[in-house]
Subunit: 407 residues, 2 copies
Amino acid sequence: MALIVQKFGGTSVGTIERIKNVAARVKRTREAGHQVVVVVSAMAGETNRLVKLAYELDPEPVSREYDVLLASGEQVSTALVALALNRMGVPSRSLLAHQIDFRTDATYGRARIESIGANQLAACLARGETPVVAGFQGIDPEGNITTLGRGGSDTTGVALAAALHADVCEIYTDVDGIYTTDPNVVKGARKIPRISYDEMLELASLGAKVLQTRSVEFGMKYRVPIHVRSSFDESEGSWVVPEDETMEQVVVRAVTYDRNDARISILRVPDQPGVAAKIFSVLAAHEISVDMIIQNSSQEREHTDVTFTVPKSNVLEAERLMNPLAKELGAEQVTTDTEISKVSVVGVGMRSHSGVAAKMFAALSEAGVNIEMIATSEIKISVVIDEAYTELAVRVLHQVFGLHGEG
Amino acid sequence: MALIVQKFGGTSVGTIERIKNVAARVKRTREAGHQVVVVVSAMAGETNRLVKLAYELDPEPVSREYDVLLASGEQVSTALVALALNRMGVPSRSLLAHQIDFRTDATYGRARIESIGANQLAACLARGETPVVAGFQGIDPEGNITTLGRGGSDTTGVALAAALHADVCEIYTDVDGIYTTDPNVVKGARKIPRISYDEMLELASLGAKVLQTRSVEFGMKYRVPIHVRSSFDESEGSWVVPEDETMEQVVVRAVTYDRNDARISILRVPDQPGVAAKIFSVLAAHEISVDMIIQNSSQEREHTDVTFTVPKSNVLEAERLMNPLAKELGAEQVTTDTEISKVSVVGVGMRSHSGVAAKMFAALSEAGVNIEMIATSEIKISVVIDEAYTELAVRVLHQVFGLHGEG
């Protein structure tokens, strides 16, 4: 008998029919002799509907109330799944964040988990019931409702699995696993059977949307195996697990891309100490997150160009902040480019294999793709290129690193 | 400075525009120097949407989960009203049942209030904030979510007013007060400026939908003045208040009708002790509420006819229960009639004025309306008549008891 956390995303509970399917799956798992804790997101479309209502009232809604509003979506789906389970003869009860003392800090909209009242859930399981827990929501130290940010139900699932020492956290979604790259771009993309937490973390932060980054961090920290699989069939999905030796045999695990960034350059800044600090402290003060940063000194060594990327949604604000600063610093010009994309290769095998970067850059060059920026970590290499070449670059890299499947 | 509870029904918060109007009204009340506690229902249509979802899953939904589901509707409207208030510069926070320790018993679907954590609300008011409380919902002694039944937000409002010793509970709705009868039926219907709790209780239980019966009971018990008024204009509505001497000067305060009952007759039951007990204990065991009961002995004194009314929605079930019982009791036949209505006149003045019943029956007789059943209390007389004569009877009684207005 295993203890399994099954987390179902918005599309998996998007209609009454699908909710019945979810309940049927939970029932089968119970009948196979396992204990199940269910975690659900809001029904697909529901969160967007609520967001729209809030923004009609206030373009900058008060974050405390915004969280109360959004958390209602999970209350609905949680109750419906519990109804469906009871209907099928599986004793079940919905549990909201405050009912299991799911404590977070008070950062509305992206609260961080502090502790979970596992006793309540354990008692529920001991009574033979199947708890259905509302994902995404928490309560702060004063009992206010908080939310964990978009995709936060993944984190709820993995955190519960950690707190209950569950054997696995199954993440049911509308895709059947994690792929070597986007199957919409590359026909030969293959499902990855096993991937390490480190690799998954890189993929998640590089634009792969299948798991929320923080859920992977939780899984890694508490060693919870995460099984990403489809809610529409029974096929084995992808396991996110601790790294093992066999994993290093593959140099590149996956190729990913992200079109959501824009580039800003501040050209010919007089090269003085503290220039970069000034620029990035202004951006930080306005909560604009900066991804890649490059600073090139110009030939005469008196001026420098500072280039960085920010989310496209922040580019106008960032430009507005940089213009007066550039003037103040004596820089020549601020330029922006929103037609860029970031293409990355990820793999723990890079740690033991050299020449990955060289191979990557050569392949792109041969395909006529110009590299505008480069960033690397121990297990990933990212390049910024002209957005128009995104698909080409992804296909070329997928091929050259041997990820293509038979099909 | 007064402390005012303002309760807004589903139509009053049915759209974003209307929510803004609600917030504007609360703001005006604050600016007039008063403290306000807001109570809201779910947005119009939302509860029905949720009910439909539940019944698609299960025609007999588990009541615990059903309440969790329905309570989400008030969570949404509460958050939206708090957002709107903050947007208008009125510091405000939404409060759900568990956040103010709004305790009820564990009777899901129609829970009874046990206690309210008024400290939390008082602290909120002391900070200068305007609390927006979710109506309709409570928590039971184990922290499960309960609901107070349809229209339960009225009761939330009045109960909060009682707990906080508020000066008044204002009930904002889509009509501008309580009328001498249904203005859709009688053009000359007039708004009643002041009505006693007793009268309002009778009206509410006789089919007038403007206030939930239990909210009036609460108002009466704790002497909370209730002001029923329109959320769409500023006009004075109707006050529900303790009875005073001037009230008795009007014999009949209002005429009301109810088409929701059906009549069941068990004919020629051998007249033995315990017959009625058997019949009504079966109905009670199936939670079918019986309103009026008449038992006539037949001429020969050996048989009796038992006639009673039940809600139309229960008539098939009641008939199904009565058929075998009638056989067992040796009765001749069970008949049902769903085409009936109950027309009532209500007024505390009846206590001191005789001849009201005679006047009522004579007026109906003159109009050719046949009376099928009669029930009376100290301050009301109800008759069951053929449904087709409902409007006629209401108009005749409204006229004969001098309720017609000038218009």
